[in-house]
Symmetry: D2
Subunit: 341 residues, 4 copies
């Protein structure tokens, strides 16, 4: 940690800061500069509580050098984390050479709907079926999902089509149910800092798909993952799904640079969600290609056989025929960078 003092700080003020640091059992190192004096601190094992120093006379700023996350950092573990998905014997994994595609409707609406879509995405090459049973909706008057009934339909999809299943948990009760029925537990953007839910997910025995919050920095995303990992669940898949900005031509701004950043900073895999990330059907295909080209470990795609009749997020769902083209195009792109779909 570093304590920055103002240009006019007296030597008494610098000494008082040093004395305070010594009182904390740490070692101060005063570095007088042309315009500022900085006091470096060594001897700490983790982050130092800076409160007291921050308000001493002459002090302008405290700079933390130590990263706040540990277990999820690339410094802690050099090799990529490859996450096995599904029951023993399943060969599906996320974070390895293969780009994993998770596709399906925004919400599970009925067995017929789920089956119709599952058949199409399976045929096109998806490995995991997505579909919401518990839907977090901005309005209390919107369709909130089928609940456990939806989970049962997902279980049937797995059985009938050999697809693995991911679905969102929105609170303690639904998390227990999702852990029972699904292969991956999804934590949505609105719950990225629902720390009680993160801790519970950290005790679950299924991998967790953690979506970036609407205005979360990547440090906050990694800290949210740290909550899960520090509770004992090492299998966290991060997901870039767009952030909120002033830009109004898309529902969110898909921040694909998160992919190379996470790859460098953390050993966890990261996938992209171009459907929520843009909110517009016609942008899903180009942004899916872009995400794979940027190095994403997977894609989360909304597909609906009748998007005009979808109970939620119809305008961002693509048609099965578009999904076929998508799979072909990303397959070509994956090869260019030494991966496969």
């Amino acid at each position: 940690m570093l304590v920055v003092l103002e240009r006019t700080a007296t030597s008494e003020q610098v000494e008082a800061v040093c004395a305070e640091v010594r009182k904390m059992g740490l070692t101060p190192h005063a570095l007088p500069g042309a315009q500022r004096t900085v006091v470096g601190i060594t001897g700490n094992l983790g982050m130092v509580n800076s409160g007291r120093l921050e308000t001493m006379p002459g002090v302008i700023e405290i700079i933390h050098v130590t990263q706040p996350f540990k277990l999820v950092s690339r410094e802690f573990r050099r090799e990529d984390t490859v996450i096995p998905v599904g029951p023993p014997g399943s060969k599906v994994e996320i974070g390895g050479k293969k780009v994993c595609v998770l596709a399906g409707p925004c919400a599970v609406e009925s067995r017929e709907q789920a089956f119709a879509i599952a058949e199409r995405v399976k045929a096109a090459g998806a490995e995991i079926f997505r579909g919401g049973a518990f839907k977090p909706r901005t309005s209390p008057y919107s369709f909130q999902g089928l609940g456990e009934e939806g989970l049962k339909i997902l279980a049937l999809v797995r059985e009938k089509f050999g697809l693995l299943v991911v679905t969102e948990a929105i609170d303690s009760e639904s998390l227990n149910l999702v852990e029972e029925y699904a292969d991956i537990i999804q934590i949505g953007a609105r719950n990225m800092q629902n720390f009680s839910l993160l801790k519970q997910a950290g005790k679950a025995e299924k991998p967790v798909l953690l979506k970036r919050g609407m205005s979360a920095t990547l440090q906050e995303l990694l800290m949210a993952a740290e909550y899960i990992v520090s509770e004992g669940n090492p299998n966290v898949i991060l997901c870039e799904r767009g952030v909120r900005t002033f830009a109004d031509h898309t529902r969110n701004t898909l921040d694909l640079s998160a992919i190379p950043f996470v790859e460098r900073t953390s050993h966890l895999p990261i996938i992209a969600d171009p459907s929520h990330g843009t909110g517009r059907r016609e942008k899903v295909l180009p942004m899916s290609r872009a995400a794979v080209a940027a190095g994403a470990d997977g894609l989360l795609i909304e597909v609906h056989h009748k998007p005009d009749e979808a109970l939620s997020d119809g305008p961002e769902s693509i048609y099965p025929e578009q999904f076929n083209i998508l799979m072909k195009e990303i397959s070509g792109i994956a090869k260019v960078i030494g991966r496969e779909v």
Copy 2:
């Protein structure tokens, strides 16, 4: 609702849209313009599900005219909602002529700390004591609050100093406890769209202080309030606490224009939190004055008698002496606009 078609839309495409509207049991009104044709829709009672229309050939855009919130809107109820706080006989209320001040530490740390601060804020004129027992923290390694022990201290504060008490609930269990011990249940910014928690708060019998999410629009804030009110709890106090922007001179950007907007759009009261809203002690005083000048119904202020030793948010807590000045200054400002503190 309005359906906008592109300049080159054919009359067949316009007619197809009109036919679809009729199929929905509603009435279309085609308005051919110089550059666009618009189809207006009447006959609907609430918001129309636009999915199907949005994807018809020639359609560029759907414009919703009906506001999505109802119970919390000024159109639904013209008079201000004035919320009584505390047990029967308490004269404290939020949303009336008096600007209500809620003050105390970020986190309850001990009985001594709470009492020391409570004594000072009571003497200066605060009516409600704030203090966190359950703390949502970005890092799993940070102090997470005293839990129920903290709530018991708050109950002692109420008894000893005659202050009412507000504290945050972060999940289902803590909400039950907070409802039992406190006079107001706080829902924090990170949980503004934790819809399960909102619904539970809607069934509680205490008023709810609902903070704006870090990147929530005011429509989303009002929809979150609608979740609570539609479950049966009409007593929601909104709180502007700053939003996340590119600006880096404060921790958040305090958006005071939310106050006149809410006043015009909703009958619910709105208060401001200049402590979290700026994250900097030296800005709390000017921004408190500004909030009251803008018409806030109350202020939520972090006060600590030893901020350098605070276990959380020390740098934004003001000293009791600064709080005295704050109370005097906002009192003067309140008078200018026909209110009082």
Copy 3:
């Protein structure tokens, strides 16, 4: 245009709005809805000045349906604009099948530097050399560019290496010089709404590379292009270079969804600048791949043979060896979507 009235608007208020519309020589169409009355307006040739209507009693909102830009819109011209660059006989163009690569240093520093870099980017396949002679710098104390001396060096680069040349103009004088020496005139992000400069560029006889402003919507970007085109210069190349958001892991947030949006909304070509768009060398390569995968018509890349010694933007410049890899990778990606590099 549409005028929205509040739920409680009286029929007199609706009639007053209609009367006002008639006074403007236009035709009002009142559409009473469940919650709102909307008055649609027809008969206008362009955008209607809404000022008077906006403030009439009962009116809540005015909604403009007509797009404000014309000449640059896809509706105005269905075919892609393909822009020829360079003197007669040059075969370089932007907006056609080929993805055009513009590469070179942030700033021209010396003949030696420019030649060393030009040789490398030419060999790797770049068609256009970039390099700043007039540098807009946040600090008055930073290197401001070599001025006309830099332009002369660019002219030598063109002569010696057969590369075309793009460089930035920052005011009226420099624009005249840039038009004389360069093949493309660049207008930087900070000048995207310097309307005097845009008008002057609209009278120039060279193509203009127009960068998106740091917080410009795409509508504003297209309006800025409209300024240039409406003055008589049809050859505008748009450039996505990242926007300013709260995200702090990159210098800007590269908004690649701008590419499919522009492709759909305008006939003008759009290229991407992953160097400024991320500000980090290690992200230039993945984001270049992503931009081409999203459909960009070109890339603007900073390359420096000794980035550690660069006078500006060293940390975002890539090494010539990295540029070789970049060219190979984007070439593979371009083929997947039916283009070439």
Copy 4:
């Protein structure tokens, strides 16, 4: 400056960084921490060019401690800068005890309009008349201002009503004219980083009103002021006019915390523009009160006697009667904080 190395950096890497620093003629100070090694640098007179260090093996981050602005900083000059406005003998000043009000229409439309408004704002207590003669407009098809004809009308207003005059310059030519006719030269938000214009304003002999750019940090605003002051013009008035965020209930988000920040960081005065800052008439009054309560040295207010007929920005202009109330209310608020209007 500080160089941060990663946890796994070898002692050779640390030594290489130190050697490089010594080669720059500066002194390195290695501080090994628990997780990171930091190398502090002393001996520099201004900001160090970090390019070379940033890319050395093991280096993660460079932290600049020295502020980039000098002449405008509070450290450079402790006392407030009070700026005299108007010809010798004028008693109007900005930055002193008195809160200065600058009011008038968005654009000068005619002598009649200007006189009608000037009469009203003068009577209510405004000291300076605002009105645009050169208007930067998003669309090339919008009213662009009366040009020099508008400046002549402003000169007549000064003569007839004894008001001083401020108006915007948008390029080199208009700046010369504005300097000739007006008492304050305004540089608008879109030109805050038009460095050629800033330099020219730095040579002018009239004070400059510099508006914050739409997405400018306060450091960038102060650097823009540094451009003007370093050219020889010490009289710069800063202006907070709202920044662009995701919030959609106002045209911009008025960031009033800029006021206490600037007061602490710079000796220059700062005023607020609640008209552009909100874009909505009904928010101008509460936000004007808030700005004065936050400590603004002045207000820039759009007033129009017939806003429904205004050629630009009608919906944000207030009526003269509202302006009367505004003057009374801010006068009361100014007294509370020891100032006057």
